[in-house]
Subunit: 239 residues, 2 copies
DNA sequence: CGCGGTGTTGAGACCTGTCAAGACGTGTGG
DNA sequence: CCACACGTCTTGACAGGTCTCAACACCGCG
C-alpha cells in the first residue's frame, strides 16, 4: 500500500515518475508490528523513519497519574515519524492501534533524497508542516470545542484523511479505536465519550458498530464540528 | 535583534559564518507593526516569511461564537511563519501582542538558501518540526492538565524560550499578555485565569505585575507543571 | 465456563464557565 | 486639573459540563 502514501502526496502536489521511484527505492525493509504496542519510545535514538503501509498508529504522551494524551492519529499512507529525520529522537511515543504493516526508510536514504530531489524534499517538508497544522486543529478542538463538536470534528478529519489515502468507502471506514482511545485523543474520559457517541448516534449523524464507522450525514457532522478541511492543504476541494 | 534568531538556531546546532551571512542577506526589509493587529490573515496568499526581531506575536484561530484559540506564541528571534514557505497560505491568523519589529524574508530568498545551504535548510526544517513539538506539548496541556498546571507549564515554557533568545533576566521576563490572551492560549475563561493566577501567586511561585513576570521558584513551578524541556530540543540542558 | 477487555448506565461531586458588578489605572478632552 | 471613557483586573453567586466511582452487560476467547 505504498500507493496510499503516493496518493497522499499527490493530493498536495505533482509527484514525477523519478520521484516516485526514489521513494520506492528508499525503503530498506517491510515488516509487521502487532496491535497495541509501543513501537517507538520517547527519547529513543532513531536512524530511520517509518511509513505506515497498513493499519493505525498514533503519537502519544504519558503523564503522571496514568493519563495519556494522543496528539495525532496516523492511518495508512502516513509517514509516522518523518520528523525524526531532523529531530533524531522524539518527544512522544509512537504506538500501534491495530496490527500494522510498515516500511522502514533509513535517514541516510532520506538525506540522499534531500540532495538529489529538491522538489520532493519540499514536499516532505510540507508534509511535516501539515502535521503541525493538524496539531493546531486538535489544539482548537481541545481548547475551545465542547465534547460533541470535538468528537464530530475528529470523525470528519478521519473520514477525509482516509478518503485521501484511498481507504474509505464513500462514507464509511474501518475504525479500530476503542472508546478509551478516542477519549485519549479528545481530552475526555471514556465514560463521557460513550455518552457523547450516543448523542451523535441519536442525532442520526453516524453509525459505529463492529469497528466500522459510517457517516450518515457528513454535512450535518461538519456543521456541528465547524469543520473546514483547509488545514489539510488539499489541492482541490473534491474530498 | 537578529542575534536572538541566531541564538535560537545555535541552541540547536552550529551555524557557520557563511550560513549566518546568508540569513542576514536574505532579509529584504525591516519594519514595525503596531500592537494588537492581525498581521497575516488566514488564507491570505504569502510570498515572504516574517522574522520577529522584537516583540510578541501569536498564531490564532477564531471560532463561531467569538471564541478564539491561540495555538502558539512567538517571541523575539522566532520565525513566525517559516511554514508559509511550503504552505503558501496559513490555516490561522498571525497577530501582534505588542508593538513588533520584524524582518521580511522573500520566499524566493529562502528557496535560494535551500539550493545553496543544505545544512541550513535542515536546520530550518528542524525549526518547523520544533514548532510542531510545541504544538504537541500544548495539546497535552489543553487535553490533560488542569488549570493550575496549564498555567504553570505555559509560564515555564516562555521563560525558557526567552532565555534561549537572550531576552530574559535569569528569572524574569517582560510579559505583555493580558489575562484574556492567556485564557485564549490555555483554553480557559479570563475569569478562571484570574483565579488560577492568584492561586499560583499565593503559593509564591511567581510575581506578575506591570507586564513583568518573575518566577520565584522555577523548580517548584516545573514540578507543578510536570515540565520537561526536552520537547524544545535544546543541545544542552543548561537553560 | 470463566475471564478480561470493552461498552453502558446511574448518582453525585467538582472544576470551570457564565453573568454581572465594581475597582483600578491610564489616556484624553474640556 | 477634573471628568470621563475605556480596557483590564477582581470578586461573588450560581449554573453546567465533564469527571469520578461503581456496578453491570456483553462478547470473544482460552
Amino acid at each position: 500500500m505504498i500507493e496510499a502514501h503516493l496518493a497522499k502526496l499527490r493530493a498536495r502536489d505533482d509527484i514525477s515518475a523519478a520521484e516516485e521511484a526514489a521513494i520506492r527505492h528508499a525503503i530498506a525493509e517491510v515488516r509487521t508490528v502487532p496491535d497495541r504496542q509501543i513501537f517507538i519510545h520517547r527519547g529513543e535514538e532513531l536512524t530511520q523513519s517509518t511509513l505506515l503501509l497498513d493499519g493505525w498508529m498514533a503519537r502519544a504522551r504519558d503523564l503522571r497519574g496514568g493519563h495519556r494524551q494522543i496528539t495525532e492519529l496516523h492511518v495508512t499512507g502516513d509517514f509516522v515519524d518523518l520528523h525524526s529525520f531532523t529531530l533524531k529522537h522524539l518527544d512522544h511515543d509512537i504506538i500501534t492501534l491495530s496490527p500494522c504493516r510498515i516500511a522502514l526508510i533509513p535517514h541516510e536514504n532520506l538525506r540522499r533524497i534531500t540532495e538529489q530531489f529538491p522538489h520532493l524534499t519540499r514536499i516532505y517538508w510540507l508534509m511535516t508542516n501539515i502535521d503541525a497544522a493538524i496539531h493546531r486543529e486538535w489544539a482548537v478542538s481541545l481548547g475551545r470545542r465542547d465534547a460533541v463538536s470535538k468528537l464530530a470534528h475528529f470523525l470528519c478529519e478521519l473520514l477525509i484523511r482516509l478518503r485521501i489515502a484511498g481507504c474509505a468507502e464513500t462514507d464509511s471506514i474501518d475504525f479500530p479505536l476503542t472508546q478509551d482511545e478516542i477519549a485519549e485523543c479528545l481530552g475526555l474520559t471514556p465514560v463521557h465519550v460513550n455518552r457523547t457517541l450516543q448523542e451523535i448516534r441519536r442525532r442520526e449523524l453516524i453509525r459505529l458498530e463492529n469497528k466500522r464507522l459510517t457517516i450518515l450525514d457528513l454535512p450535518g457532522l461538519m456543521r456541528l464540528a465547524e469543520f473546514d478541511p483547509m488545514y489539510l492543504y488539499l489541492r482541490q476541494e473534491r474530498h
